[in-house]
């Protein structure tokens, strides 16, 4: 029989964060503080060209301006962040690796523990990984194989060195440094991240993946990812992340830019499992991320899929600008919050081209004392004839101390558009649980099953390996949520 809500919540809250260990490697760490010198130091450390340094400095200037008036529109009070108390550069000491053999075995072990083996022979078939520890990329696998197809997949640092023209052409074109305060901060101090270019007509033969890990204490992570799919190209990209348990909050302010040219398609999947803080809401990652893609060419497509279970605060709206005629944008999201977590996430679909289509499926699950908000915008410009959008956003509440919120903005300036938005909020129906009980499942399994079914439509969009991982994550997060 079900125990009381209190027991349920207790068990649920006690569920531990499995990835909260710390790795002991020697680190290069910049002392905390943010000023022009910090930016110059990072830029110099990475041996960047002058234009990039200048761009960073403009980002810093914008950050100073924007941080005077921190955003207030989100559905939570932004905690005070002391930007001067954060260290903006941390890197494992050993540098200039020629092969994986030279990677610090501790780091390899770390990623192993996370389920991300870097050694190529052990790799899950068909996934190339760029692993980022704190600020720098520590290893990128399968590079050679990709090169044969003309695909560039490397760390942002390497890309700046080897493909400066491509980087210069596209960096900041989708998320300019002036976009918002965290994007400005990222522009100023971004440390590394992944760069990916798929040439004309090439279908990337394997999933590309980046695994992010914050390890050092008092550091922020500010990676920047740039993916360009040239005409007719296709790529599926996966991103995962974890961080050690710490009492203090860590800041993660990443930027992701996607560019899809004519008939190109980019699929970007995230499983976000940053440390969410303890059951009392202490510690955890502040995840303030700007992700945006542009469907530049006709018939292009960008699809975001995210499973968000971690972070103390998530603030993130992967968006698509549908510029090319007949382009398609998609957003599939599962956001699960518990304890004192806060998630304010959603998307923007900006329809500019004709016959553009977008689809938004958002599933929120809130438990404990958490607050889970969907915030989304569908905008149809005056010239976007025959634009279509379908939005479904559902919230599931587990327990009576949490909150579920929906803030969709629908702005339409074109009479030929067809926009549909549906939202529901409910709890798991007792009769569903009872039905499953009657078939021999205990409450916990029943809830897991129902939640999984509830998230199915989104999980189905993840590549196989990730779907399994995401399912496990949801199960872990739910474990013991029902007596």
């Amino acid at each position: 029989m079900p125990t009381t809500d209190q027991d349920i919540l207790q068990q649920y809250a006690d569920q531990d964060y499995a990835f909260g260990f710390e790795t002991r490697v020697e680190m290069d760490i910049l002392p905390p503080g943010l000023n022009e010198d910090t930016v110059r130091f990072i830029s110099a450390k990475k041996e960047e060209p002058e234009w990039l340094l200048q761009w960073r400095l403009k980002g810093l200037e914008q950050f100073r301006r924007l941080s005077k008036d921190m955003p207030e529109w989100q559905n939570f009070k932004l905690p005070h962040i002391d930007f001067q108390a954060i260290s903006y550069y941390a890197a494992p000491k050993k540098r200039k690796l020629k092969s994986l053999d030279e990677v610090d075995p501790e780091i390899l072990a770390t990623f192993e523990k996370l389920g991300i083996p870097l050694e190529e022979q052990k790799m899950l078939a068909g996934v190339a990984v760029d692993a980022v520890m704190d600020s720098v990329s520590v290893a990128t696998t399968f590079q050679e194989k990709l090169k044969e197809k003309g695909i560039i997949f490397c760390s942002m640092g390497e890309a700046v060195k080897h493909y400066p023209d491509l980087v210069k052409k596209y960096l900041g074109t989708v998320v300019p440094y002036s976009d918002n305060v965290f994007a400005a901060l990222n522009a100023a101090v971004f440390s590394d991240g992944s760069f990916c270019y798929i040439p004309k007509g090439v279908r990337c033969p394997m999933e590309l993946s980046t695994y992010f890990r914050i390890n050092a204490s008092n550091t922020g992570q500010f990676e920047r990812t740039l993916i360009i799919a040239d005409e007719g190209a296709y790529v599926s990209y996966l991103e995962g992340c974890t961080a050690p348990k710490r009492d203090e909050n860590q800041l993660h302010a990443a930027v992701v830019e996607l560019i899809a040219l004519d008939h190109a398609e980019i699929k970007y999947s995230t499983v976000q499992n940053w440390f969410p803080g303890d059951k009392n809401g202490n510690g955890g990652v502040f995840n303030f991320v700007t992700k945006r893609g542009i469907c530049k060419g006709p018939h292009s497509k960008i699809s975001w899929t995210q499973v968000e279970t971690g972070s103390a605060i998530t603030w993130k709206y992967p968006s698509v600008i549908l510029q090319g005629d007949y382009s398609v944008g998609e957003f599939y999201s599962v956001a699960m919050t518990r304890n004192h977590q806060i998630a304010d996430t959603g998307t923007k679909m900006i329809h500019l081209g004709k016959h553009t289509r977008s689809r938004i499926i958002s599933k929120g699950i809130s438990a404990g004392y958490s607050q889970n908000s969907y915030r989304g915008q569908v905008r149809v410009g005056a010239r976007a004839d025959h634009a279509r959008n379908f939005t479904q956003c559902d919230s599931l509440l587990i327990g009576d101390k949490c909150g579920a919120h929906t803030f969709p903005y629908i702005d339409c300036q074109n009479p030929t558009a067809i926009l549909e938005h549906e939202a529901t909020t409910s709890k798991i129906a007792e009769d569903q649980i009872f039905y499953l009980n009657q078939r021999g499942l205990d409450n916990e399994k029943a809830v897991a099953l129902i939640v999984n079914g509830y998230a199915r439509e989104v999980l189905n969009n993840l590549p196989m390996e990730f779907a399994v991982e995401a399912q496990k994550l949801l199960a872990i997060s739910l474990d013991g949520s029902v007596g």
Binding site: W73, V380, A382, S395, L397, I398, G399, D400, K401, C402, G403, A404, H405, T406, F407, P408, Y409, I410, D411, C412, Q413, N414, P415, T416, A417, I418, L419, E420, H421, E422, A423, T424, T425, S426, K427
Partner: protein, 456 residues
């Protein structure tokens, strides 16, 4: 702060208030001290906050700077209007058989109004100010929402009307708001309505302009429904293009009371902003907010609603539909709050818009904020056009394109209009929709030319 507008009209208002106050002419009759405190407080707040700008979330798409570009004079001077009786006759709703209460520029006109029955008390001026309900309710419902335009109302309104429904009223009540001014005028107007336990009442409020001078109407209504009240309110906005209209209704529902609100906005006031907030303060109460708006020219029609579930076992239904023609803009913002402890809540909301011209715009923001788990809440929102296959179907049955469009658009509106609990109101509203639909201009999803024949 750029979150507010401090324009010349604002300064005019502040100066005027201070002058009138200094001359002891702020109000034509003396206000009890308790109420005067509200007034003073409201003035201070307005003085401090000014008009909200588009930087404020609730005004994001509704720019007050445009309608408030000019100086609307205060206090308003009502001209001698030649034939008010005929106007009242003209504006009387056919077959409604209502008790008519006529207000001119916010002032009660007893000679134009009907004799009212014992079941209802209508108090104005000093009579209202000193009524026992005045102290209890005045400003206690609306002002707490911290809306600057409500403060503006409280600060400037010369007095208010108190409609006290003591017993079930045998006929509907029709409050006719007439406006006639020669100069641009700022007209604050206020109603306090208290419905006693168990009463049933139907109220229609219609808004009409008799002259062409620009007016800025600021109407605040506080409505208190005691237990087991059944109340229907119809709002019919038929103001002229020169009108800027702000209206705020704050409705408190006690247990087992039922409220139907049907909000109809028609051409051609260039600016309409309605705040309609229903607070379910007693369990098993029910709020129904229906709305139909039809815009033309450069109209901005903004409906902001809140359904606030504060107690368990309440139901709410909301459905707003819009038809936007020409260069009109619609804004719909519907918030549903389900507060902690408001278990067994059912809250549903829908909103549908049809854009009928290339230059029409809609901004819709349905919104759910839920803090209780045993709830069923949903909202749905669509923007689109007439269904193409329906149009084709009707045309294959011999209906002209125009007739087919008319049928479909009327059907679209009918979902809302049919919520009227009174046949006379239903017919009246439907007729107004017919009058204002411009079918020749309504564009179609596809070009409506005959089947395309390409000669080869």
């Amino acid at each position: 702060m750029n979150k507010s507008i401090f324009n010349s009209f604002y300064h005019y208002l502040i100066d005027t208030y201070q002058q009138l106050q200094a001359q002891g002419q702020l109000t034509p009759f003396s206000w009890p001290a308790a109420l005067l405190t509200h007034k003073q407080h409201a003035f201070e707040k307005f003085n401090e906050q000014g008009f909200p700008s588009t930087k404020q979330e609730d005004w994001k798409y509704t720019n007050l700077a445009a309608p408030l570009q000019q100086i609307y004079q205060f206090p308003v001077v009502s001209p001698a209007y030649p034939d008010l009786k005929a106007e009242v006759q003209r504006l009387t709703i056919p077959h409604l058989q209502a008790y008519r209460i006529v207000l001119l520029n916010g002032r009660f006109e007893p000679s134009l109004s009907d004799q009212l029955p014992e079941s209802m008390g209508w108090h104005t001026d000093a009579d209202a100010l000193h009524h026992y309900y005045a102290e209890e309710y005045f400003a206690s419902l609306a002002d707490v929402t911290q809306v600057p335009l409500v403060w503006l109302n409280t600060a400037f309104v010369p007095g208010f009307h108190l409609l006290h429904i003591r017993e079930t009223v045998d006929r509907p009540i029709h409050v006719m708001h007439l406006y006639a001014t020669q100069q641009p005028a700022f007209i604050p107007e206020r109603l306090l309505l208290v419905a006693e336990e168990g009463v049933q009442v139907q109220i229609t409020e219609s808004f009409h302009q008799l002259t062409d001078a620009p007016t800025f109407i600021n109407y605040v209504a506080e409505q208190f429904l005691k237990e087991k009240v059944a109340m229907d309110v119809y709002l019919i906005n038929q103001l002229h293009a020169q009108a800027a209209f702000f209206h705020h209704s704050e409705i408190y529902l006690h247990s087992q009371s039922t409220f139907h609100h049907l909000n109809c906005c028609f051409p051609e006031a260039h600016f309409i902003r309605n705040n309609i907030n229903a607070r379910l303060q007693g369990s098993q109460s029910e709020a129904n907010l229906w709305g139909i708006y039809l815009g033309n020219q450069q109209q901005l029609i903004d409906n902001h609603t809140i359904v606030d579930h504060q107690m368990p076992s309440c139901n709410s239904n909301e459905w707003y539909k819009g038809l936007l023609q020409e260069k009109s803009t619609g804004v719909f913002n519907g918030k549903i709050f389900v507060e902690k402890g408001a278990q067994q809540t059912n809250a549903f909301q829908k909103n549908n818009t049809i854009l009928l011209s290339q230059e029409a715009t809609i901004h819709a923001k349905p919104q759910l904020e839920i803090f209780a788990d045993d709830v069923k809440c949903s909202h749905g929102s669509t923007v689109g056009q007439m269904q193409e296959d329906a149009l084709f179907y009707l045309r294959t049955r011999g209906l002209s394109e125009r007739t087919a469009k008319q049928l479909l658009l009327e059907a679209f509106a009918f979902d809302i209009v049919s919520k009227a609990q009174n046949q006379a109101m239903e017919d009246h509203i439907m007729q107004l929709i017919r009058d204002h639909l411009d079918l020749s201009a309504a564009i179609l999803p596809q070009s409506a030319s005959p089947a395309h024949v390409r000669k080869t």
